[in-house]
Each structure stands twice: as structure tokens, then as C-alpha cells.
């Protein structure tokens, strides 16, 4: 039957990054399939009891696995579907080609097409992330250690750029909170700073003075510890393409895209908030919080609507932008009582 994909390799969660191209099936689903096969062997009743009981059997193959189909461009990054509330939006995915060729990553140039053209010079391995500042146990972690901090999850998030466009991206990663907990923040820690790589040898854009390098971002500690705040290591079931912030980046789905710092080398716990790069460049235009808010305009762009990339073609109308990018139910309470016009 067409919906059962046979495989010659047995998957194990610890089997590492590199897998045969078609193997991204999490163990739970894999075992479901085995049960399904057993069910088939014992007849229709068995089928109904196993496969259908899980609501998986007659979906498309990619849906059946509960995971998106890999494009087969980079090394696989196995994951299981996230169970964090709000982490799996039902919007239509933005095609991989658009996700990986339409990027703001000024370290590789200011045009949207520059990162895809120039980021091949970035070396995502070896990589070291430092976690320090107001922590009990400062960390210095290589990529292999980072991938083991918590199980990899697939999450489908909306991404809303401050420029008025948006995408829907299947990320692979873990909650940032797992990483921060490991460093044991002290009682003084109230804010978190994220520092991106700024190596002129790997990143031609940092030779220009367009921003004050390195790129830094910031979150309040409670924002950073929110389960939706993701440390992403991959997208579309594979490791992150360089132009999307390899090998690890932040994804904060209810904030404008620039808050989601790419290619992070340092996470610093702080007592006082830092000044993020865009706030430093234009304090009138960019606020510390930068929560997606259709009612608070950027001076140069209305934030009421957005253009969904890869959907509907040239004459497609724009979509209304949702409060907190549609994550109000999950994150609204973080800002209870705050004047969001003042703290934009």
C-alpha cells in the first residue's frame, strides 16, 4: 500500500546527525508503523486497532510521520513533533526555496538575496557557544553537546518580519529554557543577551558599518524561558542552511524576525537589559520588546497587514497581522498591564 514507506535502516534517537536522505522518522512513529504492519499481518481488524486508532494511517506520507518532508539538501536533523502548546501552527508552509533565498542576514549583505549567495563562507562546524554572566555554572558547549541538551523537536512557527512580510517555517530545535537552566541563572539574572558571530573572514557584510558589530539581541528572562522560545538547529528536517543562521539561532515567534538572532556564539545572563543592535541603530523605530502588534506602527511601515511569502502570487491580497503574531494565548500574560505603545 502506498502510504507505507518501507525502510532498510532502523532509526534510533542517538544515531547522530547524518542519516540516509529518506530517514527522518521519529521512533514513536516508526514503532506505530511496525504496529501497523503487524496489524496488516493479522488482518483488517488489526489495522483498524493500530494504524487508524492513531489517526495516522491514511494521511499523506509526510503527514503520516507527523513531520514535514525533507528537501534532501543538507544533513538530516531527526526530531519528534513538538507537544508545546502553540508550537505547531496549521498554516501552509512557506516553500523551502523561499525560506532559504529571501533572508535578512546583514553579516552577508543587505539584499534579501545576498545571504543565500554569500553565506557559503560561514563554517558552522566546529562551533562553540558560551553561556555566562549571571549564572552559577558558566557553559562552553560544542555543537554535538548542544544537540544533546534536550530532545530535538519539530515546530511550525509563523515568522513575521518588521518589513511587513511573513513566512511559515518548520524549525527543528529545543526550548531555549533547557539551555539556560543548564547554566543555573543566579537570582540577579533578569535579562538575556544573545551575541551573533562577527568574523570578517567568514562574513563579508561585517566589513561594512551598516550596523555596530557584533549583532546583539536581548530578551527578558521570562520571555527567554517561555517554552515557545526556540533554540533552532535546523529547518525542514535538516540542519540550518548557513543563510538561515547556522548552526544555531534563536526563534521567538511572537516578535519581529530581527529579534531571532542568527549564528549565536554567546548567551549572557544580565541584571540590566542590554541595547539590541537595531535599538542602538534607530531607537525611534525599534523597541526592546518588538512584539508583533498590528496596532503599533513602525514609522516607515504599517504593521496592520503582511505579505505571506510564497502564497497566491503577484495579485494576492495581504493578510491581516495578528496580535503577538497569533501567539497571544500563549504569551499574552507576559505583558499583562504593560502599555504596549510605550514598550514597543
Amino acid at each position: 500500500m502506498a502510504f507505507i514507506r518501507t525502510s532498510r535502516h532502523t532509526l534510533h534517537p542517538d544515531s547522530g546527525l547524518i542519516l540516509p536522505e529518506h530517514e527522518v522518522t521519529p521512533r514513536a512513529v516508526y514503532e506505530d508503523r511496525r504496529n501497523l504492519l503487524k496489524g496488516l499481518a493479522t488482518g483488517a481488524a488489526g489495522l483498524a486497532a493500530t494504524g487508524l486508532g492513531h489517526g495516522l494511517a491514511f494521511a499523506q506520507p509526510s503527514q503520516q510521520a507527523g513531520l514535514v518532508q525533507r528537501p534532501g539538501k543538507l544533513a538530516a536533523l531527526p526530531a519528534t513533533r513538538s507537544t508545546v502548546p502553540g508550537a505547531y501552527v496549521m498554516d501552509k508552509l512557506t516553500p523551502y526555496g523561499d525560506v532559504t533565498t529571501y533572508n535578512n542576514f546583514y553579516e552577508f549583505g543587505t539584499d534579501k538575496s545576498d545571504p543565500a549567495e554569500n553565506a557559503h563562507t560561514l563554517k558552522p562546524r566546529p562551533w562553540t557557544l558560551v553561556i555566562d554572566g549571571e549564572v552559577g555554572k558558566p557553559q562552553k558547549l560544542g555543537l554535538d553537546d548542544l544537540l544533546k541538551v534536550a530532545p530535538m523537536e519539530e515546530r511550525i512557527y509563523r515568522m513575521r518580519c518588521v518589513e511587513g512580510w511573513s513566512m511559515v517555517i518548520p524549525w527543528v530545535g529545543c526550548s531555549l529554557s533547557a539551555l539556560i537552566k543548564r547554566a543555573e541563572p543566579t537570582g540577579k539574572a533578569k535579562y538575556v543577551e544573545f551575541v551573533s558571530l562577527a568574523d570578517p573572514k567568514q562574513m563579508p557584510g561585517v566589513r561594512s558599518s551598516v550596523l555596530d558589530w557584533p549583532y546583539v539581541e536581548g530578551l527578558r528572562l521570562d520571555e527567554a524561558m517561555h517554552p515557545l522560545t526556540l533554540m533552532a538547529f535546523g529547518l525542514y528536517g535538516e540542519v540550518l542552511p548557513n543563510q538561515n543562521g547556522a548552526p544555531l539561532r534563536l526563534v521567538v515567534p511572537w516578535k519581529y524576525g530581527f529579534k531571532s538572532a542568527k549564528s549565536i556564539v554567546r548567551i549572557r545572563l544580565l541584571e540590566k537589559p542590554n541595547t539590541p543592535s537595531w535599538v542602538k541603530a534607530g531607537p525611534q523605530e525599534y523597541g526592546y520588546f518588538s512584539n508583533v502588534n498590528p496596532k503599533v506602527d513602525h514609522p516607515r511601515w504599517s504593521q496592520a497587514t503582511e505579505r505571506r511569502i510564497g502564497e497566491g502570487g503577484f495579485f494576492a491580497p495581504k493578510k491581516p497581522t495578528l496580535m503577538f503574531n497569533g501567539y497571544e494565548a500563549q504569551v499574552g500574560q507576559l505583558y499583562a498591564g504593560m502599555d504596549l505603545r510605550k514598550f514597543f
Binding site: G97, K112, G282, I309, G313, F314, F315
Partner: protein, 215 residues
Amino acid sequence: MSTASDLANTLNSWLMKPWAKPLSWLVCSVPLLVLVAAAAADRLGANPVDHFIKETGEWSLRFLWLTLVITPLRDLAGLPGLLKHRRALGVTAFTYALVHALTYAWLDQGWVIDDIVADVLKRNFILVGFIALVVMLPLALTSFNAAIRAIGGRRWQALHKLVYAVALLGLLHFYLKKAAKNDLAEVGVYAAILAALLGWRVMRKGGVLAMLRVR
């Protein structure tokens, strides 16, 4: 020396040929035709509307700058025939600006007039662009021989000095847009070329007021 002037003479005779003017108009329309064809074939990238608006705007600036290149180039290279082609460049600059503005109103704002008015008034860069387009309008509308005869050559010349204001407004519009993301390298190139084009006129006429005076 003689070869250089021979070359200028040959070029000039080509510029004066009866087919030269239609060819100019045709060449001026190529970027727009390419953009429309690419849009129809869905080859404008991930954000086609944004790309189309950005490109038509930049082409408008380029043609405006070319319009301003004509006089210095005519004098420096000895090519009086260039003047025959200035109208095509100027009208093309206006056409691209108009397409740019209409695409914004249609595909970005969906013809919602209230939204457009609010956007134009609220956002400096759109307001400046809108003023530039409005100032261009009388220039475009008087870009045919009967109009020049009707209003008189001197008044026509005085009116068309507004092109300097349009260029400065266009540059400011581009700057304000790009400043949002600190992306000013390209704006710098346009500014430097415009400074050279206007600087040459000021130096030759002996002052800004002299440049604006109609002889």
C-alpha cells in the same frame, strides 16, 4: 584629436537619424517589459510585489539621472544630437514613477483610499515620494511640442527647472526608505552622481541662482 572629433561627429549623425528617437523610446521601455514579463512568469523572487515596486522606483531614479546627464554630456563630448533624446528619458522617468506609485496603491494597499491617504500622511518617505510624483506631473504633461508652443519656450524652460526639485525629492524618498534598515551604500552612489550633475551646472553658471535662471 581628429579621430576623437570624427567619432563625435559619427555618433552625432546617428543620434540625429530618423530611427534614433523611436529606438530611444523602445530601449527605455525594456526594463519595464522585462519586469512585467518576469511578473507574469512568476520569476520575481519570493516577494514579487515588493520586488516590482522597488525596481520600478529605482528605474525611475535611473532614468531621471540619465535625463540630467544629457546636458553635461552634450557639452563635454560635443554631442548636440543628445538633446533629441532627453524627452524620452524624462517621460520614461515619470512613467516608471507612476507605475511604481500605482503598484503600491493597488497591490500593496489594495486601492483602499483611506489607508493610502493615512499612509501617505503618516510616513515621511511615502509623502516625499508622493510630492515628487505630483511635481513631475506638469513636466510630463508639457512634454510635447504643442505644449511648448502653447506656453512659450521661456516659460516652458522655467517650468522644467523643477526637474532639479524632483531629483532631490526622489533621492530623499530613496534615502528615507533605505535609512530604516541602515542600508545606505546604494543611496550614496545615487547621491554622488547627482552631486556631480548638479555641481557641474552650478560651476558652469556661476552659482545656484544662476543655474535656476532662464536666459
